[in-house]
């Protein structure tokens, strides 16, 4: 007769295996309270063995691929390089001007921050690393990089690219490190909406998207708004680019919150090189300070050039004296004919702006009308002064001048 253990050997092995793994899972889930936190020492040991087995192969194949790409991009694919160089130089010049325009604001901002006692954290030191592999699973978004604790890396350090944030270091081994991407479902980051200054928590999803799902509906939040790191998570320094809002919709599972989907600035699916932030400081880094000084100098040069141009214009204006200006504007003795000739040449509806308008001819002259009084030499003592002669207008009165007297004197 078969014993119980012999008869049910297969099932018992399966149950034992499942039980052992369930206990292992329970221990692991209990230990790191925070999602995405590094593992306990026993788990790290197992991961370390596997990573130490797999990463040499990954590094080898990555090295081959890198060499091929490097050879192609540095020797064969150099077409249009001069054109690109010219365009980039133009862009640098344009950016220098933009930087100069912003320098004053930046300096003022720093002064105000210092006055208010804000403790700003700037990226001081970074370590560049190459991505050598991933998890091989589409449900766990992690990367492996070719730098580890030997290069000064530690768990929970931020990983970025020039485009935006990528994730944080989870497990650090001597020569490699595991990066938990921001689109992993165990990932999280404190973020700030750029224009509305609303703070939220960014989370990854199973589908590899990043989203904010702890905000209530707000009409000020619009698609296209930039999302930045807030610095509240103590991992990412404040002000780094995260992405732009792609869509806003009610979250069916967490009412009354909204589900804000964010398009990551960095291409999280095709990363080749990343930067690990190994240190921050309260003051601007040396390079940034140099750039700021340069920008300030450019701004001062621009201001000096503008002031010189304005001074030259003022000198030019001073040459034309006030008397000349008045003389130009007052009518001269010959203005009658000239003005009439000018009026004839001027198209209808347009009037010369500088000439003083000549008075219209008098329609009903009297003895007070200029030119109506005869010269004294023609007068005789006791004689009756002649009736004032009707002044014949030199120019046909306009339609307006014909209408006005009729309106004023309806008897005519």
């Amino acid at each position: 007769m078969e014993s119980f253990f012999t008869r049910y050997k297969n099932v018992l092995v399966l149950v034992a295996v499942l039980l052992a793994q369930t206990i292992s899972l329970a221990v692991q889930v209990k230990r790191p309270v925070e999602a995405g936190a590094p593992d306990g020492s026993s788990v790290t040991l197992l991961r370390h063995w596997v990573v130490a087995t797999v990463t040499p192969f990954e590094s080898f194949f990555h090295g081959i691929g890198h060499s091929v790409r490097w050879g192609w991009s540095n020797y064969f694919d150099l077409r249009n390089t001069r054109q690109q160089n010219r365009e980039l130089q133009g862009e640098i010049a344009r950016l220098r001007l933009e930087q100069a325009a912003l320098a004053e604001d930046a300096i003022q901002g720093h002064r105000l921050q210092a006055l208010l006692g804000f403790q700003e954290h700037y990226v001081a030191t970074t370590v560049a690393a190459q991505v050598i592999g991933g998890s091989g699973s589409d449900t766990s978004r992690v990367l492996y990089i070719d730098k580890g604790s030997n290069d000064g890396l530690k768990p929970d350090q931020a990983v970025i690219t020039p485009d935006g944030i990528v994730g944080k270091l989870r497990d650090v081994f001597p020569r490699t490190s595991q990066v938990l991407l921001i689109n992993d479902q165990a990932s999280g980051a404190g973020v700030l909406l750029e224009t509305t200054r609303i703070r939220g928590i960014l989370r990854g999803s199973l589908a590899g998207q990043i989203q904010i799902n702890n905000l209530t509906p707000d009409s000020r939040i619009k698609p296209g708004e930039q999302v930045l790191t807030s610095g509240g998570d103590q991992v990412f320094p404040r002000g780094l680019k995260v992405g732009t809002i792609e869509s806003i919709a009610p979250d069916p599972e967490h009412q009354p919150y909204t589900l804000i989907k964010v398009k990551a600035s960095a291409n999280l699916f095709q990363l080749e090189e990343v930067l690990v932030i190994t240190g921050t400081q309260a003051e601007l880094p040396g390079e940034a300070q140099k750039d700021l000084k340069l920008a300030k100098m450019t701004a001062e040069q621009q201001a000096a050039a503008k002031a010189a141009a304005e001074e030259a214009a003022a000198e030019e204006a001073a040459r034309t004296t006030a008397a000349q200006v008045v003389a130009d504007k007052l009518p001269s003795l010959n203005d009658g004919k000239d003005a009439n000739a000018a009026a004839a040449k001027t198209p209808a509806g347009t009037a010369p702006s500088t000439a003083v308008p000549k008075p219209l001819p008098t329609l009903h002259p009297d003895r007070y009308t200029p030119g109506a009084t005869p010269p004294a030499s023609t007068l005789t003592p006791g004689g009756v002064s002649p009736a004032p002669a009707r002044v014949v207008p030199e120019q046909e009165p306009s339609a307006e001048s014909k209408v006005k007297p009729q309106a004023a004197n309806p008897d005519n």
């Binding site: 995405g36 091989g136 199973l206």
Partner: protein
């Protein structure tokens, strides 16, 4: 006339593998999986370790060996992810056990059987991962897109057929 009993069929068709193959093929599957998913994130839909676990289980026709092989491959896979170690280990242990049990009773050399088996086990793997994450680990945000899982099962089936034919050459008849 001799009858083909359960025991005799298993004994006739049991295969073993050289230790180098037993050790290197799972590791190669995991390295290859990592490399292809690095080439394009869309290739992460393929599950080479699962295919290898099914192959070893149905070829050896021993539920104990199938369970242990599945567990080892699953744990290796888990060690490279950010998930707790044991999620894939448990799922592949169950699959290894069932695959080996099926391998005793049906002809696993047939292409149609292999295709159906891989399709079914791929779906079962997704279901087990869902249950472990949702029920055991309590991840409330864990969802399964079943259309995606169906596509995954189809892709794995297509990949599995040539892989099985390739690995058939490493078999050693007992």
């Amino acid at each position: 006339m001799p009858s083909l009993s359960y025991t005799s069929r298993r004994e006739l068709e049991q295969h073993s593998f050289p230790p180098a193959v037993t050790l290197l093929v799972p590791v190669a599957a995991i390295v290859l999986q990592v490399l292809i998913s690095k080439l394009s994130w869309r290739l992460g839909i393929v599950d080479l370790p699962l295919i290898v676990a099914i192959f070893f289980a149905v070829s050896r026709r021993s539920p104990v060996a199938g369970t242990l092989t599945g567990m080892a491959i699953g744990l290796l896979q888990d060690a490279l992810t950010a998930q707790p170690i044991g999620v894939n280990g448990m799922a592949k242990s169950v699959i290894g056990y069932i695959a080996a049990s099926i391998g005793v009773q049906v002809d696993v050399e047939n292409i149609t059987t292999r295709a159906l088996m891989n399709f079914g086990f791929s779906l079962l793997n997704s279901l087990l991962l869902f249950l472990i994450n949702k029920r055991l680990l309590g991840l409330q945000d864990y969802h399964v897109l079943w259309l995606h899982e169906l596509i995954r099962a189809c892709v794995n089936t297509v990949i599995a057929l040539p892989v099985f034919m390739l690995l058939d050459h490493t078999k050693r008849a007992d």
